[in-house]
């Protein structure tokens, strides 16, 4: 049997819809719990609504590369499987690497093309290698307790600095390679900073509060458009 007819079978679609439904259920349960708690401690409703709008607006642009990855993976795995993998943990590079390893384990490779057993091996390996790491989620409580303990030993000022140091490490690790990563990357980074700064001025001096929720999305779109223009100029 051709593996593509298995990959695009009705059963595959049904199982994938159940899987994605489960992931949405998890998000819905956590969201319900957080909204309930926000109401319980009387958090500002406007702040909650604004968070929801900002999060939704922000998430659109970074999702577009995932759609591109989806288009890349569909010719190899059919439609439902990449749809599922990219809706839960997974990225195009990981999926292709895992699939190639699985294909080689079955005596073929992605370049040579998959057969039905290689496809079966690939979907098991791609899932197994990543899902078992969910067991590590049992450590989240311990990690947060350690952070809380560390903070309680410090005074307010120092504990605020300590958490900010973690943000700063994140920025250094991501921004450092961009600064040393070529002119287009560096310029895109700087344009994004500039656009965010300009929007902050509009929010502050022109009272454009609504812009707050879209500030990062607009900066990203502007910087990405700049990258296209700048690359064309080089």
């Amino acid at each position: 049997m051709d593996y593509m007819s298995i990959a695009n079978s009705s059963l595959m679609y049904i199982l994938i819809i159940i899987g994605i439904g489960f992931v949405l259920l998890q998000s819905a349960m956590h969201l319900k719990m957080a909204l309930g708690r926000a109401k319980e401690i009387k958090m500002d409703k406007h702040q909650i609504k604004s968070t929801m709008k900002s999060a939704a607006a922000f998430s659109v642009v970074p999702t577009l590369p995932i759609v591109v990855a989806l288009i890349t993976l569909i010719p190899v795995f059919g439609t439902p499987w990449p749809w599922f993998r990219l809706s839960v943990v997974g990225s195009a590079s990981y999926e292709l690497m895992a699939a190639d390893l699985a294909a080689k384990g079955s005596g073929t490779s992605l370049a040579e093309g998959l057969n039905a057993v290689a496809f079966g091996n690939a979907i098991i390996v791609m899932t197994l290698a990543v899902t078992w790491t969910f067991m590590l989620n049992f450590m989240i409580k311990g990690v947060l307790k350690k952070v809380k303990k560390m903070k309680s030993k410090s005074n307010f000022g120092w504990s605020a600095i300590l958490i900010s140091c973690l943000f700063m490490s994140l920025l250094v690790v991501f921004i450092g390679p961009m600064v040393g990563g070529g002119m287009v990357t560096l310029m895109t980074l700087l344009v994004s900073v500039l656009l965010t700064f300009l929007q902050s001025l509009l929010i502050k001096y022109k009272n454009m509060e609504w812009l707050k929720g879209f500030q990062m999305s607009f900066s990203m779109i502007g910087a990405m458009a700049f990258a296209v223009v700048f690359t064309g100029m080089l």
């Binding site: 593996y3 994938i16 899987g19 994605i20 489960f22 992931v23 998000s27 956590h30 969201l31 957080a34 909204l35 708690r37 909650i48 604004s50 999060a55 922000f58 998430s59 970074p62 999702t63 759609v67 989806l70 569909i74 439609t79 839960v88 943990v89 690497m97 390893l101 384990g105 057993v117 079966g120 098991i124 899932t127 197994l128 290698a129 989620n137 990690v143 307010f156 605020a160 600095i161 958490i163 900010s164 140091c165 973690l166 943000f167 490490s169 920025l171 250094v172 690790v173 450092g176 990563g181 990357t185 980074l189 994004s192 900073v193 700064f197 500030q215 900066s219 910087a223 990405m224 990258a227």
Partner: protein, 245 residues
Amino acid sequence: MNEIKRSFDDYLNATHRLGRTFSVIAIVVMMAIPLTICTVFDIMPSFMMVLSSSIGLMAFLAPATLVELFSYTPMMGAGGSYVAFVTGNVTNLKLPCSLMCTSAAGVEPDSEAGEIISTIAICISSFVTTGIIIVAIILIQPLEPVLNNPVLVPAFANIIPALFGSLGFSMIVGSNVKGLWKAALLPLLAVIIMTLTVGFPSGFEGVFILGLFPVIAAIAKKFYSKGMITVTGLEEYETTEEQAL
């Protein structure tokens, strides 16, 4: 008058219970899909075939996930972390989304308000991503030539600098810790030199975050004692503390 019946710890414990339960169910649900397909279509690979193909990947992913867990959990909080680590796209989507929303709301990520805002942000982000992917599946035919257009390649290749430029600015300017960037200058320079000379090992960001954290914290401690780094809202906090006493 409605009184707050549960403490923050009670809420957190409930979040951990929910997160852990879903983590276990996620393993069962996700593994059931390929196993059902392989059984029904009679394409089950041998145990040895699966083991030999997956062992290297598992060994590679375990430390990477562990490091991400230690680095990102304090920034995303409990509820957000459980959702993010199952739905994926942590560094390019869920973590920045959480940081942007907590920063915009003016709350600390490890406070109760921060925990709630981060959870809401990550859950909404997860819904939006799933929704967009569903729309893309429906519109795959007309979308393919647009998104695969060579003109747009530099845009998608530079999405991370576009994201971190804005995020970095918001986090530095919006933070109540002023001047912390001074403590990051030297480590930043080291990372830039490393990128230019031997190259930065992509995929090891989590390890570097954990490694640089104590270095930046040590420099920050020195600068804080010299008054080069200040924290706003300190007087307000001390007044509240005195009133509480």
